[in-house]
């Protein structure tokens, strides 16, 4: 390694040659503000917030993309010149920014707002001028695009391209530049997969999830309605972040308490649905293996991925597992099995789900997701919306005691818990498939090769004497690489797990927003996933088929995995979609 000695704000330090100023400063605890920079995916030096002075350089440099190459380089990140430049940049951004901060959903988590505060912007109108109002795009089920609050940082564009979707980009030129879709279409007319990664990286309120919290409050307030909530595996690993708890804190107990305090009639665990998914999916996989079915089989839990497949790889739709996602399975079981058992008319049940995902808002409206003749799930909220509800009700989240899920559909296994991380579904399915095929309860249940945050993981396992080749991909650009190999006949996988978002649901588009200053220096997906693998180890049951509730629902209701009834309630179908 080629090390050089430099000084930042007169503090001497030694860094690898080629390190950017931004990275070097971070090492000694000097924060440099950024608006456009996202490590690895948006390194364009466009916003000019990160400017710094380099001794001997003619002008200020963008520290996010300025590599330090010279021994003895002296850098200053806080001179008056730097401060003045940043202030001017902010004032210019504000000159055509819709400054309705009090009612903005990102108030408090807006990176622009925080910078204006930190830099003491005292005149929002310094560069007042033309400020044409542009149309707000409310066309989709999952998000709202308000370009009046856009700062043209292009983080959303980078995230969308990183997802191999690329339906938003910068159109037109100069003052007319705006982030939009091809041929000026509304977002719902494009091949957007609803993943919401753009909403997770937007520094301002230009891209926000469609807020459905008021619909939920209304349902809870309606005495006719029996309102049931379910929470996805990945929520417990991230919700704490909305209340300033450390990244990777498992807040399952507090979350359940908060949901009960919000007034839900029952609090169930989507991990139960995950276990059910495994029962059906493992069975489907074994059947396909034994009966010459379409292989490789590909998981179908991630609605962003499913929509991506429908748009971009329709020829692989027969490879998709016909299993509904855990959200939909849980909802379907609530409105059929649970409703019958408790004697409740499913028409009066409102199923709310808390998901790490914006695509779940799309999934609940899909066709063939209505086991009881009613939508399996009525309203899907993101982690962020749940936090909003908790805050609205003035619940002191961090002080809450722990509670348990309601037992009817609230007991789950470690296999269900790890669904929230990339590789988790594969591992959970293999645990069940291996036991089913051997007819034994195997002790070797850790499939470590499919864990971790690598975008693509491959492994070969011997499952009851049969060689099973698996691949796990997260993030749609990685998925595309794997699928292209399958299409070209260059890969002979039997089973593929695909998660739409990089790292899986822990890094989903509906997860708590972390500012770029955290995202750029912390591996969010790894920290959050740890919480789920810890939960897996500590649960009494770690295989889906060991869950007492799973046994019970098959005995009392579903007969066996893959039965006619199971197909009616727990499986679905897909459609090819037009991209343009």
């Amino acid at each position: 390694m080629d090390m050089i000695n430099i000084k930042i704000n007169n503090i001497p330090l030694s860094v690898e040659k080629g390190t950017t100023i931004l990275e070097a400063a971070e090492k000694i605890g000097v924060n440099i503000p950024t608006l456009c920079f996202l490590k690895d995916i948006n390194e364009i030096g466009a916003c000019r917030m990160c400017v710094a002075e380099v001794k001997g350089a003619r002008s200020l440099v963008a520290s996010c993309v300025y590599p330090i190459e010279r021994e003895g380089t002296e850098i200053f990140t806080n001179t008056k010149k730097v401060q003045d430049s940043r202030r001017t940049t902010l004032e210019l951004i504000l000159s055509n920014h819709e400054r309705k901060c009090l009612s903005c959903p990102r108030s408090g988590s807006c990176e622009l707002q925080r910078m204006c505060h930190e830099f003491g912007i005292d005149d929002e109108e310094r560069y007042a001028g033309e400020n044409p109002e542009v149309k707000v795009d409310e066309s989709t089920l999952h998000l709202i695009r308000n370009n009046n609050k856009c700062v043209l940082c292009r983080r959303c564009v980078a995230a969308c391209n990183e997802q191999y979707v690329g339906v938003i980009g910068a159109n037109n030129r100069g003052f007319d530049t705006e982030i939009g879709c091809y041929f000026n279409k509304d977002l719902n007319e494009t091949a957007c997969v609803s993943c919401g990664q753009c909403t997770a990286v937007c520094p301002t309120g230009a891209l926000v999830e469609r807020d459905q919290t008021e619909e939920v409050f209304a349902a809870i307030a309606d005495p006719e309605k029996y309102v049931v909530v379910q929470t996805a595996p990945a929520i417990r690993a991230t919700l704490g972040e909305c209340f300033d708890m450390p990244i990777g804190t498992n807040v399952k107990g507090k979350m359940v308490t908060a949901l009960k305090m919000l007034g839900f009639d029952k609090v169930f665990d989507t991990d139960f649905g995950a276990d059910l998914t495994i029962m059906e999916e493992a069975n489907e996989f074994i059947e396909r293996m034994q009966n010459g079915g379409t292989l490789p089989m590909i998981t179908s839990c991630s609605p962003g991925w499913v929509k991506f497949c429908e748009f971009y790889y329709p020829e692989l739709l027969p490879n998709l597992s016909s299993c509904k996602s855990p959200q939909q399975m849980t909802g379907a079981m609530i409105k059929t099995y649970y409703a019958e058992k408790e004697g409740i008319d499913p028409k009066n049940i409102v199923v709310v789900s808390i998901m790490p995902c914006t695509a779940k808002k799309f999934e609940v409206k899909r066709d063939d997701q209505d086991a009881a003749g009613l939508p399996d799930v009525d309203i899907a909220l993101t982690t962020r919306e749940l936090a909003k509800m908790i805050k609205k009700c003035q619940i002191q989240f961090t002080k809450l005691p722990d509670s348990e899920f309601d037992p009817a559909l609230g007991i789950a296994t470690g296999a269900g818990a790890i669904f929230g991380a990339t590789g988790g579904v594969m591992e959970a399915a293999l645990r069940t498939a291996a036991d089913t095929l051997t007819g034994k309860s195997l002790d070797e249940i850790d499939y470590k090769e499919v864990r971790g945050t690598d975008g693509i993981k491959e492994a070969v396992y011997n499952v009851a004497g049969t060689e099973v080749k698996v691949a796990v991909a997260s993030g749609l650009s990685n998925a595309a690489k794997v699928l292209d190999k399958v299409k070209a006949g260059e890969a002979d996988y039997h089973f593929i797990e695909i998660m739409c978002c990089p790292g899986g649901c822990v890094n989903g588009g509906g997860q708590p927003i972390q500012p770029a200053s955290v995202r750029n220096f912390t591996d969010l997906k790894a920290e959050r996933a740890k919480a789920l693998y810890e939960e897996d180890i500590n649960l009494p049951y770690r295989k889906s088929h060991d869950s007492p509730i799973i046994k019970q629902v098959y005995e009392e209701y579903l007969e066996k995995p893959g039965s006619h009834k199971a197909h009616e309630i727990l499986h679905t179908s897909y459609v090819e979609r037009e991209r343009y």
């Binding site: 391209n161 979707v165 690329g166 339906v167 938003i168 980009g169 910068a170 159109n171 037109n172 030129r173 007319d176 879709c181 091809y182 041929f183 000026n184 494009t190 343009y580």
Partner: protein
């Protein structure tokens, strides 16, 4: 200004498509291939309709939004077809102060299209251009290669009639 997108039906020929495929093949894999491909495609089709942009995106393996973004960034790219007769009204400083804006309005009144549009019968298109170096004749317009100067709105009808034969 936002670029207008043609709403007229796409009438590409198989010959044009074959040429476009050649162009795409020639540039495929080059960094920044979108811009030269768009430029040559405009040479083939006269403009860059959606259908062509989609073929370019698919051919180069880039998102169609990237193609659209580039096509709307550069002023030389047109997303609307040119008519058999393209009327180009100079909106340069000299022509503008001499009232060329009113000429544009009059043309719009007469043939029902705004700048960057083409009539449905494909006879006329209208563009607003910058100084063409004929300031002495201001206000000026050209119809294809013919120049008309010192115009007033009342002259427009007669000029249009010449091409309607």
């Amino acid at each position: 200004m936002q670029k207008k997108i043609s709403t007229l039906p796409f009438n590409g020929t198989p010959e044009q498509e074959a040429k476009l495929k050649e162009i795409i093949e020639k540039h495929k894999g080059d960094p920044g291939a979108v811009m030269p491909v768009l430029q040559e495609a405009q040479g083939v089709y006269g403009y860059l309709p959606k259908e062509v942009q989609i073929m370019i995106a698919e051919g180069l393996g880039v998102p169609v939004e990237e193609v659209y973004g580039v096509s709307t960034f550069y002023s030389q790219f047109s997303l609307t077809p040119k008519g058999k007769y393209n009327i180009s009204v100079c909106l340069g400083t000299a022509c503008y102060v001499k009232g060329s804006g009113k000429l544009v309005d009059e043309i719009t009144n007469q043939i029902g299209i705004e700048p960057e549009e083409c009539t449905e019968d494909g006879l006329f298109s209208l563009t607003a251009c910058r100084c063409i170096g004929a300031c002495g004749l201001a206000p000026v317009l050209t119809v294809n290669d013919e120049v008309y100067g010192r115009l007033e709105p009342k002259d427009i009808a007669g000029i249009l009639d010449k091409y309607r034969a």
